[in-house]
Amino acid sequence: MLSVERLETAYGVSQVLFGVSFAVESGQVVTLLGRNGMGKTTTVLSVMGVVRARSGTIAFEGKPLHGLPSFRVAQAGLGLVPEGRQIFPNLTVHENLIATAANRSGAVMPWTLDRVFDLFPDLAARRHNYGNQLSGGEQQMLAIGRALMTNPKLLILDEATEGLAPMIRTDIYRCLERLKSEGLSILVIDKDVKALARIADRHYVLEKGRVVWNGSSADLTANQDVQHRYLGV
């Protein structure tokens, strides 16, 4: 469904990505792994069109995405949950969810406020609070809900559980499992290799802007060397 080939991205003269290739199949959960500064976020931002890739191709459901402005990429069916959550602080929870909501793909069972509040009951109680009055976990739930309300075919989470308390992390992973079981494709970046190995189908490890390893969850769990060398586990 998403196919990225030989992606190269630079910020000015400093090149960050040196030919990143990976693919997400429909219904799969795929991860990008690697230590900080290896190019995971840049990869996501390049795919989303927030940062312009210097070369390489990005195709989604067979249609090229590279070179498109980010709103077109999003309209094609990619829903972003960005690093740092970036919810709108001056909008209420309710407004954060509905401001950018859309159903461009004509989903039969589109996401509604009720469905989001069913997925994250904690958010329902905070519905009239402003974004800057939420805890980190609530902000992350809101960022996921906000992306879901655009009815994406592929959900992209950059640092899904960074800086969250262990119990909240468990909640987020439970939510991702539920979304997967409902057939949503997910691309996720996170540090929690154990949790990711449980729910993901395929993993790509980035090192200095290149994919140095990829394989299934079983491969990753078995390969102590990769975990130790590239992920510092």
């Binding site: 927030v50 709103f71 709108f88 001056n90």
Partner: protein
Amino acid sequence: MTFGLVFEQLLNGVQFGVMLFLMAAGLTLVFGIMNLVNLAHGSLYMVGAYLAVAATAWTGNFALGAALGLAGALLVGMVVEVVALRTLYERDHLDQVLATFGLILFFNELVAIVWGRAALYTSLPAWLQGHVELFTGSRYPVYRGLVIVVGLLVAVALWYVVTRTRIGMLVRAGASNRTMVAALGVNIRLLYTVVFGFGAALAGLAGLMAGPIYAVQPGMGELILIQVFVVIVIGGIGSIRGALVGALVVGIVDTLGRAFLKPLLGSVISPPAAEAAGPALASMLIYLLMAVVLAVRPEGLFSSRGS
């Protein structure tokens, strides 16, 4: 100094205030959301005034002329945004000031070429002339009363759009994080053009309503623009509520100061001294007010920038 006179001047202050608000609403949105310093906002005020005068002469109908002037200002604003301002959003404020100052010169010359440099004076239709009696012994011009009503109606409508509609939510979301708004599938460039166009229409509305009260002439926009900047600095950049409160405060303080500071001073210091100091102080009042607000609340009375 009778109560009736004070009340009338107070209404004049409110009337000047709502005109400032119509200007400030557009300017503060454009500055707060697009981070664009638009010195040419006064030109849109002037364009609205001239188009309304021309359309009124052409159609022979004041209301129709005003409607055409408003539509014209909206259109001119959107064209200016697409042609000239789009490329300036990512540039620093000095570039924006230079480019929009260029637009001021362009529009002033254009207007002078088309309509001449002399001031145009417009007459009101019969149904807008005359006075209403507010209470015994106090009469107020119908037209100025209408300006107040229109300004307050626009304020209510704007409040509704910004706080209650999807487009208002996107406007506020764009003010805090435009990259994220775009990454969620919203064409923020188009949104900017629409917002700018409506800001221009509001400036045009202020201009066309100002026509029958003040003179319609090249450069008329710059006279009011400085006071509009004072309003948005006092109110807080990007805040519609701040623009309304700031505009009413500036309008009332300025008007009352010009009317009553001299007689008030005259009762304290010698009449010749008051004669000299009164008008000088009156024209400084709003800037003194701005200085005080900046010292106490540098972000303005209602800051819109959430953290």
